[in-house]
Every structure is written in structure tokens, then in C-alpha cells.
Amino acid sequence: MEEKEKKRKIPRQPMPEQEPKVRARNFMEVPLGYTSELAMKEAERCLQCKKPSCMEGCPVSVDIPGFIRHIKAGEFTEAIRNLWSKNSLPAVCGRVCPQEIQCEGSCILGKKEAPVAIGNLERFAADHERTHGTGELPPKAAPTGKKVAVVGSGPSGLTVAGDLIVKGHEVTVFEAFHKAGGVLVYGIPEFRLPKEIVAQEIHFLERLGVKVECNAVVGRTITLDEIFEQGYDAIYIGVGAGLPKFLNVPGENLVGILSANEYLTRANLMKAYLFPEVDTPIPHGKNVIVLGGGNVAMDSARTAMRLGADSVRIVYRRSKAELPARAAEVHHAEEEGIQFFFLTNPTRFMGNEKGRLVGMECLKMELGEPDASGRRRPIPIKGSEFKMECDLVVVAVGSGANPLLTSSTPDMTLNKWGYIQADPQNGKTTKKRVWAGGDIVTGAATVILAMGAGRKAADSIHKYLTWGW
């Protein structure tokens, strides 16, 4: 008991960050990371619970008290080994997981004070390994002679590739874009997840022997059946959601209205914020409006601010309580001067004679009864129309299932929204020797859920390659 009391005297160690005013205009990472001292001090706060509730909140059951104990003891190599046994991308997850509704949301300390900063500690362990580690590769099983194709190089596909390569199988990743990483490279911005980190993770897999074939649009360049004809024994599909939703209101095709996918791909994958040093342009709005309330909306808004906007407004049709974005992102966005317009929904866009956007008309909303998602449904208030001036709108209202691969694979069952039907236990699809997971099965979700699905499928693929279907 005394021991516990003493520990609680240590407050949650804040993460050093770039000043809001400064960072709102640059693309460098916002949180700067814990030093070893800060990390060890924060690790001391953990009670090392016998029945750790934090682990119940983790979709992949990371041994949280275990890795924290190593950090506390200064055993950073052991800490990362422990993390790797459950999570192959801790540097990514430490940065982008919604910890407040997962591990930290379930941490026992959270009942009375701030929970242990599990995400920050995870990130610390991974960063420390990257900058100080030996880069030693994990042991690999003897070659099995089996070949696995992974379609899509997002977190889900990378997890499958990493898991199966160490089990001795040959693995090739097919990626449609010219660069691997999925949403981690084209969606999530540099200031939240430096691309250097993703590149290192992929390089690590390549050192282990994973082959990465970029510019391979499966369904166009090559079909699943043709992959099998090339001698592959199993295929994992992790192609993400990848179909932008629009609002379908008048004026949406005016110049100056982009999907978040397009806006962020230009900014992140094509590095258009460096234009004209790079050749891909990106619209620089003065008065920017972002529609939506998820991580994608926060990322778009903060990108617009960094590209020099005078004002950036997030327009969301529900209220603050329903914002699906990570708490840290909302907080960072507010600090950076981004304004929020809740309970507001666009009804049309106005343009000038050159077809360029000049404004948006909206309706005020109020919350009604809960809908299918359990969130209260927004209902328009009659006669509440008002106009907002803007010259750039980024539409971040969600995504659907991209049909490019699935439409070229008629013998694979989809659900009514076009997502691939896969067994939640093992990722098996209705097409023999084909597994699927991540956003293309669940709809747009999270990095860790995509990785969790990848791990389950990798286990199942390994079983199949060893014992049969």
C-alpha cells in the first residue's frame, strides 16, 4: 500500500512538444519523444498490476506491465523485444493508436488520476531501439519452400509479411503505389508519423528477405489467379478501404474541393508541400474548411494550416462529444488555432465564373435519437441556412470499399457494402487459399486493428502451409 502511495506522487510525465505557434507552420513531428530519464520516471508510475486491465484494452494484448518494467529498469533492448513479440510496428502504434480508448483508457490509475502514458513509453522503446539498437535481425526458421503473396503494404499487409518471413516462408508484397506503407505513407502526415520511420520498418522487412513489388496494381497489372499461377501457395489481401466518399451536394466538383485522400496523398506521398522543389502541386487555401471529425479531418486541417492558410475551420455535423478522432489530435488541432464548427452540415458549394470555389452554404443541426452506430443522429434545423466563405474544402467524411481488386475476383464473396467477407477468427475468405484483413474487411478502422487482423491471418496461413486448408 505504501509503495503504491509513493508511486502516485509522480505525476504523468508530459511529452515534450514543439510550440503550437511554431509547429503550426512546419511539417516536423509535433511530440519530440521522451528522454531515457523521462521514460524511466514515467515507467515507475506503473503499478505492475497482477491482473493488468490495460492489456484488456489492447487489441493485440501487448504485455504492457512487462515492457514497462524493462523500461523502468533501463533495459531498453528487453523492452522492445517484449513489444515486438505482440506488435511488429511499435514506433507507429506508439504514435497513432487511440490509447485513450484502449490501453490507457483501461489503466487502473486512470480511475483517480492520469493513466500511465503507455503510448509514449511504447514509442520511446521503439525510438530508442531505432537510434541506439544493434539492428540485429530476429532468428528465422529454416526455409519451407512455400511462397506467400501479400497484396497491399499497409500495416495489415506488413504484419503478415513480417510474421511469415520469420517462419521461413518466401514473402512478396505487391503494392499499387510507387512506395510501400499504405495509409502510413500516403495518409498520416509527416508531423504525426515521420516517413523515415515507416521507411525503416519496411527496410527492416526487406533485410529479413521480404520482397516488395511496387507499382503492382493487383486486379489490373496482375490478378489473384495469375499470382497463384506464378507458384504462390497463399495470398493475403490487405488493400485498405481506399474509396473516398463525397457528400453529393451541388457544386462539389468546383475547383478547390478535394477528397482528403487526394489532399493528403499530394501532401504526404508526393511531398507537395515542398512544391516547386518537387513537381506535384497542392492547392494553398487562404480560408480552408475541412468536413468531417475523424483523424483524417484533423490531419487535413493541420496540413492546411502548415501550408499557410489564414483560417482553417473543421465543420462537423455532430457535436464535440462524438468526434471520432484521437483526443490528442483534437487537442493539438485546437492548440494550433483550428476552429471547430459543430452541428453544422453543408448543403451546397458556390463558385465563381472560373469554376473556383468561393463559399459554402450550411445548415445548423441538432441531435436526435441514437442511430445504428449508437451515436445520436444529427437532424437539420429548418431555416437555419448560413454561408461560410472559403477557397478550399477538404472532404473527410469517410471512405468505402474500393472495388478495383474485388471486381476482378468474382469468386470471392463480399458483404453488402462491398467489403471482403472474411472469418474474424482467421481471416479466411470464401476463395480458397486467400485470406484478407484490415480496412478492406472491417471498413476504415485503425492501424492496430489492421495489424491484429494481419497477425491472426498470418497464424492461419502458417497453419495451412504446414498442415493444409
Binding site: H178, V217, T221, F246, G256, T265, P276, P283
Partner: protein
């Protein structure tokens, strides 16, 4: 790297032909499909519809006009150099069918895209009437190749230096007046496709056009290529690039194509100054 094995300059150096090693794409590609090319690490992803493919040799051919920074950069690539990335084949292939008489109308570098489609329609037994146009004779491309796959052939030039003096649409009108035509395919500058469609609508002849909006991924992921077809939004990279010419909102497409004009100009001018300094 995707190596350039053959390079030609056409139209006095304003139009460039590249034959590129891309065996996977060459094996798969069908007339009407396009590829996305990226020259180097900092390059832009540029969609170009293929002008030819050689599955045996494992090569594809693209023909492009030098209009901005990226195509100016492409122009500097020599035989033996290559593109860092070539992605494809993308988009839907032309639906080739034996219909009877097919009129193929091409303008500018659109003729390069039109040629394999024309050949495709010819090979399955259609009678082909080709009408191709350019500003003047010295910049008219692929004349011999188009002539070789046509039963009737009408070149046009705006300045009258060759063939019909005037627009392709004038010849088209005459052709449509004289005979029954089952299908018109028009590929070229947006205004040309717009006016061709206007005429064929009067004559009630089904018309296909190939659109070239600004693209990023080419896989239906970004929506940047959206075009209004009969009042509905379509993504040209996956639903097209070919659409029913009578349903396309050409004015919207023209405005959307201007989206980055200012930026593009700035970037291109910088590049030209750099090239001159070299």
C-alpha cells in the same frame, strides 16, 4: 527502372514518343487503357494513354506533348534512361465490337491514343473512316499509321497547309450527312470532343470520347479525376477513361483541368531556366 528503348521527336520536337520496357504491362494492356509514369523521386505522377504495346518485346509506347514541367522533364530522358515508376495498365479497355461503319476522329496527341483503338475496330471487321486534325501539316502525327488502318482517310489542318482547310468537325458533318455511321470515337482536345459530340448528337450517332482529367493514383482512391457523366459523378481512372460523349459535362472538365495552371506555370518556368543555365 523502366528503360526507354526507343525515342522519337515529332511535330518539331513538341511531341515525344517513348517506347518503354514494361513487360507485365505490355502483356496485359488493351487499346484504350493508360499508364501512370513518374520520372524520378521528386516527379509527378502523369497519366498517359498507351499508343501501342508489344507483348513479345515487352514494351509499351506513349506519345506526349510537352506542355509543362513534368512533360518537359520526360523530354530530357534519352534512350537508355528510364522512368522510375510506370503503373498500369489502368482504366477500362475500349469495348471493341463489329458494328459496321466506325468514324475515328482525332486531334493533336489524341491521334496517338486513337490509333490502337482504330486498329482494334478495323481488325474485327469494321469499315473505318478516319478524320484527324492538327494546327498545320508539320505537327500532324501518325498520319501513315492512321491511313494504314482506314478505309477512308481525311486529314485536316487549321491553316490549310494540308488536307481539309479547317476543323475535323466540318468533315465529320459531311461524312455523317452522306452515310449511316454506327459509332463515332473522338479523342483529342476537350473542345474538339465537345463539338464532335454536339454534331453526333444531332445525327443521333453513338459517340465515345476518352477523357484526360488530372489524376493522382489512377486506382479510384482519390477522386481527383471525377467527371460529371449525365449528372452523375464518375472516376475517369476506373470508370473510364472512355465515356458516352453525349453525357459528358465538358465545360466542367475544362475548368477542372485548369486547377493547377498557375502553379504549373511557375514550376515549368523554373525548370526551363534551369535547363537553359545548363
Amino acid at each position: 527502372m523502366f528503360k526507354i528503348v526507343k525515342r522519337e521527336e515529332m511535330s518539331g520536337g513538341t511531341v515525344i514518343l517513348n517506347e518503354i520496357e514494361a513487360p507485365l504491362i505490355a502483356k496485359k494492356a488493351k487499346p484504350g487503357q493508360f499508364v501512370i509514369l513518374k520520372a524520378n523521386e521528386t516527379g509527378e505522377r502523369i497519366p498517359l494513354t498507351m499508343a501501342d504495346t508489344d507483348p513479345e518485346k515487352g514494351t509499351i509506347t506513349v506519345i506526349f506533348m510537352v506542355v509543362g514541367k513534368s512533360t518537359a522533364l520526360f523530354k530530357t530522358l534519352k534512350v537508355g534512361d528510364g522512368y522510375q515508376d510506370v503503373i498500369g495498365p489502368l482504366g477500362k479497355a475500349t469495348h471493341l465490337e463489329k458494328l459496321g461503319t466506325v468514324v475515328c476522329v482525332g486531334g493533336g496527341t489524341g491521334i496517338a491514343v486513337l490509333h490502337p483503338i482504330t486498329r482494334g475496330f478495323k481488325l474485327i471487321g469494321n469499315r473505318i473512316i478516319s478524320i484527324i486534325g492538327a494546327r498545320s501539316k508539320d505537327i500532324l502525327i501518325l498520319e501513315d499509321r492512321m491511313r494504314a488502318v482506314s478505309d477512308e482517310f481525311y486529314p485536316c489542318t487549321d491553316d490549310g497547309s494540308y488536307g481539309h482547310h479547317g476543323f475535323v468537325t466540318e468533315v465529320l458533318k459531311e461524312v455523317l450527312k452522306k452515310q449511316t455511321v454506327n459509332l463515332v470515337i473522338a479523342i483529342g482536345p476537350v473542345p474538339m470532343m465537345k463539338f464532335v459530340s454536339k454534331i453526333t448528337k444531332e445525327f443521333e450517332v453513338p459517340t465515345i470520347v476518352s477523357l484526360n482529367p488530372i489524376m493522382v493514383d489512377g486506382t479510384g482512391m482519390c477522386g481527383g479525376c471525377r467527371v460529371s457523366i449525365g449528372g452523375k459523378n464518375k472516376f475517369a481512372c476506373v470508370d473510364g477513361p472512355e465515356f458516352d460523349g453525349h453525357l459528358v459535362d465538358y465545360d466542367e472538365l475544362m475548368l477542372r483541368l485548369q486547377a493547377y495552371c498557375e502553379d504549373e506555370k511557375r514550376c515549368h518556368e523554373g525548370f526551363c531556366r534551369l535547363q537553359e543555365a545548363k
